[in-house]
Amino acid sequence: MSEQLDYFRDRIQAATATGKPLRIAGGGSKDWYGGLLAGDLLDTRGHHGVIDYEPTELVITARCGTPLAQLEALLLEHRQMLAFEPPRFGDASTIGGVVAAGLAGPRRATAGGVRDFVLGAQLIDGKGELLNFGGQVMKNVAGYDVSRLLAGSLGTLGLIAQVSLKVLPLPLVETTVRFELDEVTALARLNGWAGQPLPLSASCWHAGVLTVRLSGAEAAVAAALRKLGGEHVPDAAGFWTSLRDQSHGFFDTSTLWRLALPPTASAQILGGEQLIEWGGGQRWLKGARAGAEEIRRSVAAAGGHATLYRAPDKGAGAFHPQGAAIARINERLRRAFDPAGIFNRGRLY
């Protein structure tokens, strides 16, 4: 396996020497996400395999090219999971890509996102140095927490060669109920529930129906069901997977906006159709009447940011523009790890 690391290092050092950009990719299942692709392909899939997994330590360490499906299957054998429910946009998805993209699924609002579960990482920087950050333990405050910084960095800081992630036991029981509610009432209901000790683990409002998932010990879920009421949805696992992987019919669109908002933000009137997840924190928008600038202005005014998630033309920029001071810190960090600017150029900003 160190042959693979040597290969990565050689490619990176050559690219830095010539200033020719590299496009780091795992399975390529998220090639459409973020800015346009640029540079020569550097395929990480040759560096694969779970290095360490002891279920009772609640940590799994794997090389970047390890297929997500394989890793999650291993966890499932031990009744454990990646609690942030990473989307699988294709079978080829790798764990390195999961961390680099920083995307999470339905459990995000209650369990946390990718960065909340990253414990450590190995990174090959622009000079070809193999750097170790964090570790394989739950609590670690030695040095700056660079490993969490890699979650969502889209490969712009270097090649994520290996990651250690916290894992959690599968809930003993999961059940799903639905309510017919309009958007405003649904948002109010979700925020009200979130302030109470209820075992909510996912939510979705779409087309006048609010669907929520409850996860936990049998007694807790049963007590919550009595409190919430609603109509039981049998065999709902497929529904939540269809949201996670965006195979749900709503996502059958060429242009899709992701609005990240404070969960209590009021309904965003932008025309088109919305699907709301994460208790109101993540709102998908398609068929918007408003243009990119108006969408971003409206969402920013409500304390959020808007990503042009999928689109044939991302001329408006995939990600919400940053303020000057934040952009400067981002740029310096990027230069610190990638002085020649070779990694995934233009993918993040």
């Binding site: 009772t56 750097l131 969490r148 000790p197």
Partner: protein, 496 residues
């Protein structure tokens, strides 16, 4: 390292210039520059190391923080931020010719909103004060470091503080949504937001735990979570440490994430029992505290399952708290381990390594051997759920060489933690205390990367310099001196 107090390393003229510039931008009462005023700031919770600063400032609002930073930038004065000074690693220890920026007057809860489950607070607000303010709404702020009655949220952000419930509820990094920061360059930036996944690099996660070296926090938005309806704790005795460690693994393997999962060794139990009278089994080699929280039904269910697992795993006596008073009594010994150490020993030195839990027996055996080697006793308390070990080395600083031996003992424990795949600090931070141990855990390339991260936020290297990240020269020197079996002489001297 040995404690050192340097004489005034700056001229009277320099003091006059810096104090004058600060008085021009702050109310007179917010600038302290007489030795009798600055003396109370000479150390934090790591009291073996003392150094009064040149000046202490106590800004009252964000504009004053920016003004202080502007003065310090213009005059190239290093700044050490300080919350309540409860830190255990010397992160807030002053620099002799520098300014201490105390957040004591930035102590307002700006907004607490039950509907959005958030509180916006200034950095000097105490951790517990947030939970107290949220209590009428059935909410609380989850991270609960033992010092929560005194420590501030700004300090918690700096150290990424945990507590006894963090296996289930997370650390500071999992419970802070946004920080507002004054940068040394004079900008106000917001890292994170109430909306998930702020665009660009996740600066919030690298800022949390950065020990005051990247910016000055002026406001923090924390997540409030619903208070569980009830909680109960199991107290279980074990005849040996290995069995106790395995029992913890069995609980996790059963798919349970307890609200709290703590272990004490016999030395700790015997140390605290006379003071707290918690009813600990003093013949046990280890005592495990295992808490369940949630609805009454949920707690009953989980307690039953955990009890069965612990019994099967070889627990001796098992007691389950039946009232809230009893629950607090069971916890009292664990929570009071540090004060109890202070009662039975003139001094104690608290370590903070984290290890993969499976290596607990190996590490405790190693510590037992070190007790003999260094001729000092050590009591061990352990956040068993997340592998965070707090050995308390008992010593008497007035006895020739004991501080020196305690520090060498501590450094060897940390080296052992790293050797078994762990880390030198789980939650207390590096500060000045563990700066040499950083050389054991990281290589020069990683240390260089840390300096580059610092440079991205603080190009002038004025914010809490010479803490947390050792220079390569320092590591080289440490390495050389370690071979000759020693602590660093004159460790208080600025090096490089």
């Amino acid at each position: 390292m040995t404690p050192a107090t340097l004489d005034q390393p700056y001229s009277d003229e320099r003091l006059r210039d810096v104090a004058g510039a600060l008085r021009a931008v702050l109310p007179a009462a917010c600038v302290l520059d007489r030795r009798e005023e600055t003396r109370p700031y000479e150390c934090d919770g790591l009291s073996a190391y003392r150094q009064p600063p040149m000046i202490v400032v106590l800004p009252e609002d964000e504009a004053q923080v920016l003004a202080v930073l502007a003065v310090c930038r213009a005059l190239a004065v290093p700044i050490v931020p300080r919350g309540a000074g409860t830190g255990l690693s010397g992160g807030a220890m002053p620099i002799a010719d520098g300014v201490v920026l105390s957040t004591a007057r930035l102590n307002r809860i700006v907004r607490l909103d039950a509907y959005s489950r958030t509180a916006v607070v200034q950095p000097g607000v105490r951790n517990l004060a947030i939970s107290e303010a949220a209590a009428p709404h059935g909410l609380y702020y989850a991270p609960d470091p033992s010092s929560q009655i005194a420590c501030t949220i700004g300090g918690n952000v700096a150290e990424n503080s945990g507590g006894v419930h963090c296996l289930k509820y997370g650390l500071t990094v999992h419970n802070v949504l946004r920080v507002r920061v004054a940068t040394i360059e004079g900008d106000i930036v917001e890292l994170g937001s109430e909306a998930p996944d702020a665009p660009g690099l996740d600066l919030l996660s690298v800022f949390i735990g950065s020990e005051g070296m990247l910016g000055i926090v002026t406001e923090v938005t924390v997540k409030l979570v619903p208070k569980p309806a009830c909680a109960r704790v199991i107290m279980a005795s074990f005849g040996d440490i290995v069995t106790a460690g395995n029992a913890v693994a069995h609980v996790i393997a059963a798919g349970i994430i307890p609200a709290g999962l703590e272990m004490m060794d016999q030395t700790s139990a015997r140390m605290v029992e006379p003071f707290v009278k918690a009813g600990y089994d003093l013949d046990a080699a280890a005592i495990l505290l295992c808490e369940a929280d949630g609805t009454a039904e949920e707690v009953e269910d989980e307690i039953a399952r955990m009890t069965a697992v612990l019994q099967a795993a070889g627990a001796g006596a098992i007691a389950v708290s039946t009232t809230e008073a009893e629950r607090l009594k069971f916890w009292s010994g664990r929570k009071n381990a540090f004060p109890a150490a202070g009662r039975i020993s003139p001094d104690y030195y608290c370590m903070d390594g984290t290890i993969p839990r499976k290596n607990l027996a190996q590490v405790l055996t190693g510590i037992a051997q070190m007790e003999v080697k260094y001729g000092l006793r050590c009591a061990n308390v352990f956040h068993a759920g997340d592998g965070n070990l707090h050995p308390l080395i008992l010593f008497d600083a007035n006895v020739q060489d004991e501080l020196h031996r305690a520090e060498a003992f501590g450094a060897e424990i940390l080296a052992l933690c790293v050797a078994v795949g762990g880390t030198i600090t789980g939650e207390h931070g590096v500060g000045i205390e563990k700066i040499d141990s950083m050389c054991v855990q990281f290589r020069p390339v990683e240390l260089a990367a840390f300096f580059a991260v610092k440079g991205a936020f603080d190009p002038a290297m004025l914010l809490n310099p010479n803490k947390a990240i050792p220079t390569l020269q320092r590591c080289a020197e440490f390495g050389r001196m370690r071979v000759t079996n020693g602590a660093l002489p004159h460790a208080g001297l600025p090096r490089f």
